[in-house]
Each structure stands twice: as C-alpha cells, then as structure tokens.
Symmetry: C2
Subunit: 181 residues, 2 copies
DNA sequence: TTAAAGTTTCAGTAATTTCTGAAACTTCGG
DNA sequence: CCGAAGTTTCAGAAATTACTGAAACTTTAA
C-alpha cells in the first residue's frame, strides 16, 4: 500500500483509543474509510496484520457504532464491508454514540441525586454544583439531538459563522421586536 | 461522606476514562467539584483512599487540563485545590483540551498527506476521502475556537434554539437580501 | 446430508495502563 | 545550617484491556 495511505491508517490506530475505541478498531475504521472498494474480513486481517478473530470483534464493534455496513457481491458468499455513509454522517454517529456513553449515564445519575434534600451546608453546595452540571449536560443533549436534523450545508453555514452567530441571534431579536410593533 | 455525594464521586471515577482521563483522576475531579472548601492533597488521598503519590500525579494532570487551581490559606503552608472556574468554564476547557488531543494531530497529518499527488485510482479516492475528513475537522476546529468567545448566556440561547437555528439562518439571509435592495 | 467456505466465540496470553510507597527533593522558620 | 512539613518522582507491582488462534458454529450449494 502507498506509504501515505498506510501512514493514515496507522495514525487512526494511534488515535483509536482517544476516539473511543482501540488501536485495532481505529486502524480498521481508517482502512475501510479510504478504500475505494468494500473489503472482506480476510483482506482487513491481511492488510493490518491482525488476527482473523480480532477483525471479527472489530467489525461487530464498528457495526455497533453504525460506522460500517455489510455489502454482498452477487455470486460471492463473502461479506464485504464499507463505510456506512459520507463523512458527515459518520462524524455525527461518532458524536452521538459518544454522547450516549459519556453523557447519558451521568445525566441519569444526576437526575436521581437531585431528588435528594440537602441536610447540611456542604451537601447543599454539592447539590447546587450537580444542578449546574445537570443543566449543562441537558442543554448539550438537547442540542445534540437537533444536530442531525439539520442538513450538512446548514451545519456548515452554522459552523463557519462561529461566534458570528451571536450577531445573528441579536439580529433575530431586533427583527422580532420590530415585527412586534 | 453522604452516600449520594459519594455515589457521584465514584461515578466520576467510572466515567473518567471515557472523559479522557483515568479512574483516579475522574474521582479527584468530581470530589473537588462538589467540595465547598478547597482540599489539600492529603484530604484527597484520604477521602478517595488512594496513595499520596497518585494524588500528586493526578493534580499535575488536572492542572494540565486547567480544571483546578491552587489556593493558599494565610499562615498555612499547605496547598489547597479548588475548581478553576464555573461549570461552563470547566466544560469548555475539557472540550478544548480534548480537541487538541483528538483532532489536532489528525488535522496536521492530513494536511501533510494532502500535499501528495495521487498516482492511481485507489489513491485518488483515498485522498478525496481524506480531504473530506480534513475539511470537516477544520470546520469543527474553527467553530470550537469561537465558542469561548461567546458568553454562557449566548451559548445557552444558541443551544436551546437547536435545529431552530436553521430558521434564524434563513431569516438572516432574508434580512440581508432586503437590505441589499 | 455433506463438506466447503466463511464467521464467531472465548480461554489463555500479551501488552498497556495505572497505582503504590519509599526515597529524593523543596521550602521555610528558627 | 537544621529539621519539620510538605511535595514530587519513579521503579516495580497490580489491574485492566486487547489480541491470538484454535475450536465451534453457520450458511450454502450440490
């Protein structure tokens, strides 16, 4: 394989654990992403030099993340794997899956906790802090749920606006106010 | 310690590795967050039942993340540790730090890679995919850099709008167009 | 029904990450 | 300069996580 492409795949491996999976799965993900044609499990195993069993587990995991899909080629019994969509779709899936793993459990613990009555000063403070965290996580969750509803173009517009969006929000208020009159 | 509070701290420990650090550091972070008063390293060590050395490393790490700050109490030589700001501030710091670790290295690798000329079909495809990833990550980076410039209130407005922000963007266009005429 | 082609599982092993605790270091008052 | 109070470092041990490969399982075509 071309050395630049290989470098990319290896990099995905190194980043794997930071992205929420492990080295092997990172590599697999990178490889499938940049391969023009769908790959079989054996091809993956050979290309990355990892055991067939490991590839099988990796595929299961990548399917759980909804990042790859199976394809079949007529007259061929093997399963071929390809990315489950374009880059935006995949990024949203990673984002969503990570939210599920990194935010949801905490949110639910906090909800439980916040039903408690504080019985002293220290507890009151702790509960207040937890309330803050809860509110923040809830806002993020709410927002994340809306993200995929916008198309990629709109998301791009929004992101490119950056802090400029603040001005647009102000404008919105002005607009609405003048409409009120 | 109250069992609910303890549950929260332990939960932070369990989530620690998902949030980008490890169990101990997660616990420390949770504990400091909900403690009304700043804590010494020894208090942390006792409360969490972890070795003094481990606490020392954890503090260093949490300082690298800019999540805690040192405080001194007059006439006391010990160092006291407290959160480095309100919840929004801390969340932004985690977000930023994670971006540095999870996105930046990939972005720089992709930039390098994209200087290459493709020498065949497969490579052309791979480079196109990398370009997509590159563009996405660059957009995210750009956007993330703007985030802290908005105050918490504006961020809240934005987040609460959710997909509704799409409509505001449309409105912006309408507004600008009518101004053009 | 059989066997060939392919996939999954999982016990054991390897690799990695985290933690401990003792020794080294720092800082400060006297 | 000394020693007490405090902090940091780091080699080795413990805990966790990931990987292999062989056996079990599944599917399909003849």
């Amino acid at each position: 394989m071309n050395s630049k492409l290989e470098a990319f795949v290896m990099h995905c491996g190194e980043m794997g654990s930071r992205w929420g999976f492990n080295r092997t799965i990172g590599q697999m993900c990178g490889l499938i992403l940049i391969s023009k044609n769908p790959l079989t499990a054996n091809e993956i195993s050979d290309a990355l030099n990892i055991s067939r069993g490991n590839v099988s587990m990796g595929i299961k995991e990548l399917q759980a993340w909804r990042l790859i899909q199976v394809q079949h080629i007529p007259g061929d019994r093997k399963e071929y794997y390809a990315p489950a969509g374009d880059i935006w779709t995949l990024a949203l899936r990673v984002f969503e899956e990570r939210r599920k793993r990194e935010v949801d459990p905490t949110l639910s613990l906090l909800r439980d906790n916040l039903l408690t009555e504080p019985s002293n000063d220290a507890e009151l403070y702790a509960l207040e802090q937890m309330q803050q965290i809860h509110d923040l996580l809830e806002t993020i969750t709410h927002w994340a749920a809306e993200l995929p509803k916008m198309g990629p173009e709109k998301l791009n517009t929004l992101m490119r606006l950056g802090a400029g969006v603040g001005k647009v929000l102000d404008m919105k208020d002005k607009f609405l106010n003048s409409a009120d009159k």
